[in-house]
């Protein structure tokens, strides 16, 4: 976008969100005054809190935001594809502040030590209670990816998170990784645990045979005399990004025609505020907001983008706010609407980082978490090794945690090339910190964790890299899946994200030699989506590697050579 457009755009955002002034305006904040940091004056008469993609992190953690999050095509230079200083500038956040630390990777390790850990359900509970105290009846929405991502969630088949969310007071949720517990388990939880407590919403899941809805598409609530509708949107590509056999009888997809139908339906029933609780990913949400009319806000997740202010999308019906609320329990979003005369007049939005040092733990939630962990404590806290460097995952092409996993699976299994999925969840380890078994599970706790060895031809390897590259860089967001590029060990390559499908990946070399299309290579991987796949759980493979080493030296990241991204504010 031209500089003129961009300036106008920023002015519009600033005008729309008076309350979104720099978080650290007061000198008190640097000293850690919680009351000032979390003092958000009540506004309007309809209040919605939103968190998403917590990935089952019950305890406070570290989470480093990416330094590579490229925007391609129409997404170039726009939120959420801004990293580091570009993000700070676009959202008027002062460098070197608590907020700058929350939203960027800048000086991560040092700032993390200064400001402390983020998230944790006991601290989140305190913040939820505080905001609800000022805004009685406020809704709490959970965007999904809640029942997966930790050892205890995996071992309890999601039960620890289901009960934690009930205790937190979640009103409605949508989902993605939840489905990897299997369709039967999801239906059991919805029928037994959530009934009458949490609405499980998904307008875009139907049975594969007759197209019957599987879950309620929306729920309506009255708040201060205003009818509010929340429509659920599950991750549209669950059966593609994750094993289809786990939800074989259900079909997903974006389904924006049906979304429009649902919006019209709730409007006809008297809804004055329509919110979509979405797991589309932000780029898909932005496109959907331009096509579907009558939505006041899409509260989004999946792509794990911590976006300080909503993007306002104009459409034929007026405008729609699109937000994304980060991941791993790091943020709680608060959206206040002033609804008068049957419509939204104004709004205030704030994405509040959950700093555990500023928010005392809620006693009830802390006790609950303690109880959940007690039987597994010894196993969770086993120290596998000490990391000398920073270990993180987020980034379009690689992260040091992924590099460690690649190094481990390639060495333990004797492979020349390694593939590790471009997941965006997983916590961060600071230099000098011990890596516990729990930390390892934060990166690997899935229901199809098999470590694999596959003989692949050079041609097959190229096809995989091209396919995953297109899932990330297709200029049309509806063809994107919202994960990052598959992490590659051993193999060097060049990537041109702006090129067409099939020609982004070139110069593939193994130890300097060009990859041969017909030759077979031994490739180590994990998380196979095919039915019947087998193998040792990847956490056991990596744990062995870590125990053997005891000290993990800083990783040397295998990154592709990039073409055509110079000046892209999505890369630092």
């Amino acid at each position: 976008m031209s500089s003129m457009n961009r300036r106008e755009f920023l002015q519009m955002l600033a005008a729309a969100s008076v309350a979104g002034a720099a978080l650290d305006a007061s000198p008190l904040l640097a000293a850690g005054n919680a009351d000032a940091f979390y003092d958000v004056p009540k506004f309007g008469n309809v209040h919605v809190m939103h968190f998403t993609d917590c990935h089952a992190q019950l305890l406070p953690i570290w989470f480093r935001e990416p330094n590579v999050n490229l925007g391609i095509g129409g997404a170039l230079g726009k939120a959420p594809h801004l990293v580091g200083e570009h993000l700070l500038k676009a959202f008027d956040i002062k460098p070197g502040t608590r907020a700058a630390h929350a939203f960027t990777y800048l000086d991560f390790a040092q700032a993390a030590r200064t400001y402390g850990q983020v998230g944790g359900f006991a601290h989140l509970a305190t913040l939820v209670k505080r905001l609800r105290g000022q805004r009685p009846g406020a809704l709490l929405l959970d965007g999904g990816d809640t029942w997966q991502g930790s050892a205890t969630a995996l071992w309890s088949k999601g039960q620890d998170m289901v009960d934690a969310c009930k205790l937190l007071g979640v009103d409605m949720m949508s989902a993605h990784w939840e489905f990897t517990l299997g369709d039967k388990r999801v239906q059991e939880i919805v029928a037994k645990d959530l009934k009458g407590r949490i609405e499980f919403l998904a307008q875009n899941i139907k049975t594969t045979d007759f197209g019957d809805p599987v879950f309620a598409p929306y729920a309506m609530r009255e708040m201060n005399g205003v009818q509010v509708a929340v429509i659920g949107q599950a991750f549209p590509y669950t059966p593609i990004a994750n094993p289809r056999y786990m939800m074989a009888d259900w079909t997903f997809g974006i389904q924006d025609e049906n979304m429009q139908k649902m919006v019209d339906e709730v409007r006809a029933k008297g809804a004055k505020v329509v919110v979509v609780l979405s797991h589309n990913g932000m780029d898909v949400d932005l496109k959907m907001a331009s096509r579907v009319t009558g939505i006041d806000a899409i509260l989004g997740g999946h792509t794990h983008d911590g976006v300080p202010r909503p993007v306002i999308v104009k459409n034929n019906g007026g405008q729609t706010l699109v937000t994304n609320a980060g991941s791993n329990g790091k943020f709680l979003a608060l959206l206040d609407f002033d609804v008068r005369g049957g419509k939204v007049q104004e709004f205030r939005y704030k994405l509040l980082p959950v700093f555990s040092k500023l928010l005392p733990a809620d006693a009830g939630m802390a006790t609950y978490i303690e109880k959940v962990r007690a039987p597994h404590k010894a196993k969770l806290e086993e120290k596998l090794a000490v990391s000398e460097g920073l270990l993180y995952r987020r980034g379009n092409f690689n992260g040091s945690w992924d590099q460690l996993i690649l190094d481990a699976i390639m060495e333990v299994q004797g492979a020349d090339i390694g593939f590790s999925p471009g997941f965006r969840w997983g916590t961060t380890i600071l230099p000098g910190q011990a890596i516990t078994f729990e930390h390892l599970m934060d990166q690997t706790a899935i229901t199809y964790p098999y470590a694999t060895i596959t003989e692949m031809t050079g041609q097959q390897i190229k096809t995989i890299l091209e396919d995953v590259g297109d899932n990330l860089f297709n200029p049309d967001p509806y063809y994107q899946q919202g994960g990052d590029m598959v992490r590659v060990g051993g193999l060097q390559y060049t990537c041109d994200p702006n090129a067409a499908m099939g020609s982004r990946i070139t110069e593939m070399r193994l130890e300097g030699k060009v990859l041969e299309a017909g030759k077979k290579y031994r490739v180590a991987g994990w998380a196979p989506v095919a039915e019947g796949a087998q193998g040792e759980p990847v956490w056991d493979v990596v744990a062995r590697y870590l125990r053997d080493r005891k000290t993990i030296t800083p990783r040397r990241l295998n990154q592709p050579k990039l073409i055509g991204v110079k000046g892209n504010p999505g890369i630092a």
Partner: protein, 156 residues
């Protein structure tokens, strides 16, 4: 779930399923009475030649022809394709998967007065344009949309 409805629908669509199998080539034409089987067009390995074979080389794009396909196929082996023609006097609908080994996939002919609306499940070998054509008053109209067939895994 509505079991009764399912049972009724299964019974009601049985003949439709059979028609689909014939048209998509799952049953060889010699096995059925297929008077109008366009052998050359269905066996053509080239989309342009297949179009020519059914006389649709000069099809014009039309917004009155609506195709509904997923953006990304959940399962390339059974991709749902729905086509509805709002063009008056539509007498047949043709579906073509441009990059399949045999691009011409199905042809449905409508008796006078039948609603020109079809639903099929097609196998896609790879990412491809899926093209629908409608014939009305001797003229062909077309619409197309890309369906991506991709390796799974790696989702956020």
């Amino acid at each position: 779930m509505n079991t009764t409805r399912r049972t009724v629908l299964k019974g009601a669509t049985a003949s439709g399923v059979l028609a689909g199998l014939i048209a998509t080539g799952a049953l060889r034409p010699t096995q059925v009475l297929a008077a109008e089987w366009n052998k050359a067009a269905f066996e053509s390995k080239d989309a342009t030649a297949a179009l020519k074979g059914i006389g649709a080389a000069a099809a014009t794009e039309s917004k009155d022809l609506v195709i509904k396909v997923p953006d990304i196929a959940e399962n390339g082996a059974v991709v749902p394709v729905d086509v509805t023609s709002n063009i008056p006097n539509t007498s047949s609908i043709v579906i073509m998967v441009v990059r399949n080994p045999f691009p011409l996939s199905a042809q449905f002919d409508f008796a006078n007065g039948a609603l020109p609306e079809v639903s099929a499940r097609l196998k896609l070998n790879e990412t491809s344009m899926v093209r629908a054509l409608a014939k009305a008053d001797g003229k062909f109209y077309s619409v197309q949309k890309e369906v991506k067939v991709t390796v799974g895994g790696c989702g956020g």
